[in-house]
């Protein structure tokens, strides 16, 4: 029986400052993160003591990779929010990492809350720059000029699931999921004539498996840094996905993975053909809007992206039928939508507009191109592509489509607004977020798996949070409500 899964998604946003003075992107990102304050309160620092980005899931530590150790050492903004999220500067981008969520739907809510946080922070940051300055933020993954930045999914998986099995069984899935996870883009990084492709990220991937995230990007990333009890868990760090604005796309991206990871953990995935050339196939899938291009398999036959996805869907359907006497509504919804999206992709891919980002954007681009008689590589068309991802609700083209009712919504406005400040109730994010809300002055640093308190004693006190499923509202809510101070809380926790 598979263990409960948890998920969090990190998104590096694109940032541009327009105005009388030039502002470099690192400073701009820092201004932006710093500008987002809860009523002028002091920030809670990030605790790095448990981070090992160079530890490899294949069982060794890399002595020198290209992963720079940044942020706090350079004085870059790096903070933790009352909703349990981490909001900071990574490389030269503002990054929002959602709190840990237990369902795909919750992830949609807290990911959407992140867009609002970025929108708000950008407006505040602009006010700290010379008059006439604007800070523009895009939830995208490439500038179309050779730079890519990430949207990383993180899934908690039991350590005993062999990494080799995960790799073998996930690679064909990763390669073919841009049918619904792709955010779409004009052009290509690989030369040749590509008007439009499904994925923002696909062209930037060069190898099948590896530790790197910025160079020689691998389809399967091996970073082994669980942010939880390392004897029990690994964190599967998935770096090949796009940032999605469509709620249906985010739900499917995460929901299919949560389900498939259960299937893989229980070793219930039937043998599937392996791709002969996964990286090339990833590019091919992204460049084929129909999902019907044959991909070479290692047994000498071929299969299309749609056929491969159908096989995964069938396996997941069979698995839950055997496992669950009553299917929970969240899983049922993911399965139904997955099936529907594949059926639409097979009959009329463009009819996915309003559900998945690439098709929603392509419809916009085609209409706009037609009206103005523009070539596919015209700069105004590129502006439409870019502005689709603009987080401002009055200017971002995705948000204008939402306003017109042309995009399917899954979560309510009230849920999104609440999630800007409140953590998910059923993971350790609740304890993190609530402690910060209640005891901000006594918390000197927070991390995914710890909080560090200063309650005036001789030493700082570290509260470990090694189980992502512990620290929920249900389990620690009464305790938090019963104490009047951080010191009292620590006393209760250690007694």
């Amino acid at each position: 029986m598979a263990t409960p899964k948890f998920v969090g998604v990190e998104t590096e946003y694109g940032i541009a400052v327009d105005g009388p003075t030039e502002v470099n992107p690192v400073l701009a990102s820092s201004l932006l993160v710093g500008a987002y304050r809860d009523g002028g309160d002091r920030d809670v620092r990030w605790d790095h003591s448990d981070e090992h980005p160079l530890r490899d899931a294949r069982g060794y530590e890399v002595p020198d990779a290209h992963e720079p150790v940044v942020d706090d050492e350079l004085g870059l903004a790096n903070t933790v929010l009352t909703n349990g999220a981490r909001f900071y500067v990574d490389h030269a981008h503002p990054e929002y990492a959602t709190p840990e969520c237990s369902t795909a739907r919750d992830l949609v809510v807290w990911d959407k809350a992140g867009e609002r946080i970025l929108e708000d922070a950008a407006r505040r940051a602009a006010a700290s720059l010379p008059p006439g300055s604007r800070v523009l933020v895009h939830k995208n993954n490439t500038d179309g000029k050779g730079a890519a930045y990430g949207t990383h999914e993180n899934y908690l998986v039991p350590r005993e699931v062999p990494f080799g099995r995960l790799t073998r069984q996930l690679l064909p899935f990763f390669v073919t999921r841009p049918i619904y996870t792709g955010a779409g883009r004009l052009g290509t990084e690989l030369g040749g004539e590509v008007a439009f492709q499904l994925s923002q990220r696909a062209d930037f991937f060069e190898v099948e498996v590896g530790l790197e995230t910025t160079l020689k990007r691998p389809l399967m990333n091996t970073r082994d840094e669980p942010h939880a009890d390392p004897d029990r868990y690994r964190r599967l760090h998935v770096i090949n996905g796009d940032a999605n604005l469509c709620e249906v796309a985010t739900l499917l991206k995460v929901g299919t993975m949560l389900l498939l990871l259960d299937v893989i953990e229980d070793d219930a995935l039937p043998a599937l053909p392996e791709l002969a050339e996964p990286v090339e196939a990833f590019h091919q899938v992204s460049h084929d809007l129909t999902g019907t291009r044959p991909l070479r398999l290692d047994d000498g036959t071929t299969a299309t992206a749609l056929e491969i996805q159908e096989r995964y869907l069938d396996a997941c359907r069979r698995y839950v039928k055997d496992r669950d006497s009553a299917l929970d509504p969240g899983t049922a919804d993911v399965l139904e939508r997955w099936e529907a999206v594949l059926a639409t992709a097979a009959s009329d891919p463009r009819a996915l507009a309003g559900q998945v980002d690439w098709a929603t954007k392509l419809e916009l681009l085609e209409s706009y191109r037609e009206r103005h008689g523009l070539a596919w590589d015209h700069d105004r068309l590129k502006m439409v592509d870019l502005q689709y991802h603009d987080v401002r609700r009055d200017k971002g083209l995705f948000h204008r489509l939402v306003e017109r009712g042309r995009v399917e919504r899954l979560v309510s406005e009230a849920e999104i607004v609440a999630a800007i400040d409140e953590p998910p109730p059923d993971t350790r994010a609740w304890f993190r977020g609530e402690c910060i809300r209640r005891f901000r002055k006594q918390i000197v640093a927070a991390g995914w798996d710890s909080l560090i308190f200063d309650v005036g004693g001789e030493a700082l006190q570290r509260v470990p949070m090694m189980e992502p499923g512990r620290g929920t509202r249900e389990s620690v809510g009464p305790l938090l409500d019963s104490v009047g101070s951080a010191a009292e809380l620590l006393e209760q926790l250690t007694s």
């Binding site: 940032i15 000029k145 590509v194 809007l289 706009y368 590129k382 502006m383």
Partner: protein, 67 residues
């Protein structure tokens, strides 16, 4: 990449032009007219909100690589 042509060929206006023709009933025509009006309004709005110096903005939009 050689598959660019595929993306381009399958791109476009052609597919959508057929949609109104396929609907013959009066209600269908009304619906498609509404859809076209809606698209027109949407494109008007894009012209309104699109970055004023779109060409310049796009050319200047350069990001540092991230993860």
């Amino acid at each position: 990449m050689s598959d660019g042509g595929q993306a381009r060929e399958s791109g476009g206006a052609k597919d959508r032009e057929h949609e109104p023709e396929e609907q013959s009933a009066t209600t269908g025509e009304e619906t498609s007219r509404e859809v076209l009006d809606d698209v027109d309004e949407l494109l008007d709005e894009i012209d309104d909100v699109l970055e004023e110096n779109a060409e310049e903005f796009v050319r200047g939009y350069v990001q540092k690589g991230g993860q």
